[in-house]
């Protein structure tokens, strides 16, 4: 039985300002993601990561319902950056101890290049199915609370349990190791008690 087409088939975006915006966002997003991975200072890497998340939110603003943009910007970006920065406040491990261009970097670059080549070949050689488009933003909230209400509930449980679990992990004392590590509190970067007994 043929499916009735209601609405127009999706077309590429051709408006010049929007096209320039999307290309600019994509280039900046990849550049900041690369910077986040390559920078040796963890604080700068977290800054580049937050910039990447903001640029992804801008991409969602151009392509997806506004609610997704708002959630990406206000929840995911903020929570991720806050979690990372709070970890760095507890510790002082800002500088990387890894050598630049070590053997792992060559292996990582090879794996990343192979994955990228595979995905590009799949994208280029596949004829993706098309369907008629409607206003995607109109029923997003209703879709979340009706069609995906079970997923939303499961997600709430996952988020709550991860928050509880991470809090318990951070609060729990570590077991003394054979190397003499283990403490109930992280050492102060300004010369507090060392975690490793020498």
């Amino acid at each position: 039985m043929p499916v009735l087409l209601i609405g127009a088939l999706p077309q590429p975006i051709t408006e010049a300002p929007l096209v320039i915006l999307i290309y600019g966002v994509l280039v900046l997003m990849l550049a900041s993601a690369l910077a986040s991975v390559l920078l040796r200072n963890t604080l700068y890497a977290i800054g580049a990561f937050a910039a990447t998340m903001v640029l992804v939110a801008l991409l969602y603003l151009a392509l997806a319902p506004f609610l997704l943009f708002a959630v990406q910007l206000l929840v995911f970006t903020t929570v991720s950056a806050a979690l990372l920065l709070s970890l760095l406040r507890q510790t002082s491990g800002l500088a990387s101890t890894q050598d630049r261009f070590s053997r792992e970097w060559i292996v990582g670059a090879a794996v990343a290049a192979a994955l990228l080549a595979l995905l590009v070949v799949v994208v280029a050689s596949t004829s993706w199915p098309l369907g008629p488009t409607t206003n995607a933003g109109a029923g997003f909230g209703a879709t979340l609370t009706n069609t995906y209400v079970v997923g939303l509930a499961v997600l709430a449980v996952i988020l709550a349990s991860s928050a509880l679990g991470s809090g318990l992990l951070l609060a729990a004392p570590t077991l003394p190791s054979t190397r003499g590590g283990g403490t109930t509190r992280p050492a102060s970067p300004r010369g507090g008690r060392s975690a490793r007994r020498r």
Binding site: V37, L59, Q98, P132, A136, T143, I158, L159
Partner: protein, 102 residues
């Protein structure tokens, strides 16, 4: 010049590759977690692109909904992963995940 499905998917693939690079090449637990975040985000971008340019009305809001679920799952994973990274730091005074290898 136009923006279609292929452009967004290639950018998504590049972001996924950057995340995979971080996961394989970096020893710092924090940077490895950032790599997994990039891989989650790349999946979300692909879902949004398919919802916008692919099977539109059939799954008009499904792409955005799945992207939201993926993002929230990524944040939950980050929370637990950072807690584990904090424990690694307390034990070894470093975020390096292969300290024992010397």
């Amino acid at each position: 010049m136009s923006v279609g499905l292929a452009v967004i998917l290639v950018a998504s693939a590049a972001l996924f590759a950057v995340g995979a690079f971080a996961l394989v090449a970096r020893r710092s637990a924090v940077l490895m977690l950032l790599g997994t975040q990039f891989m989650f985000t790349a999946g979300g971008v692909a879902f949004v692109a398919f919802a916008r340019f692919g099977l539109g009305a059939t799954h008009a809001t499904a792409g955005a909904a799945v992207t939201m679920f993926a993002g929230a799952t990524a944040v939950a994973e980050l929370a637990v992963g950072l807690s584990i990274a904090a424990l690694i730091y307390r034990e070894h005074r470093s975020f390096s995940v292969d300290t024992d290898r010397g």
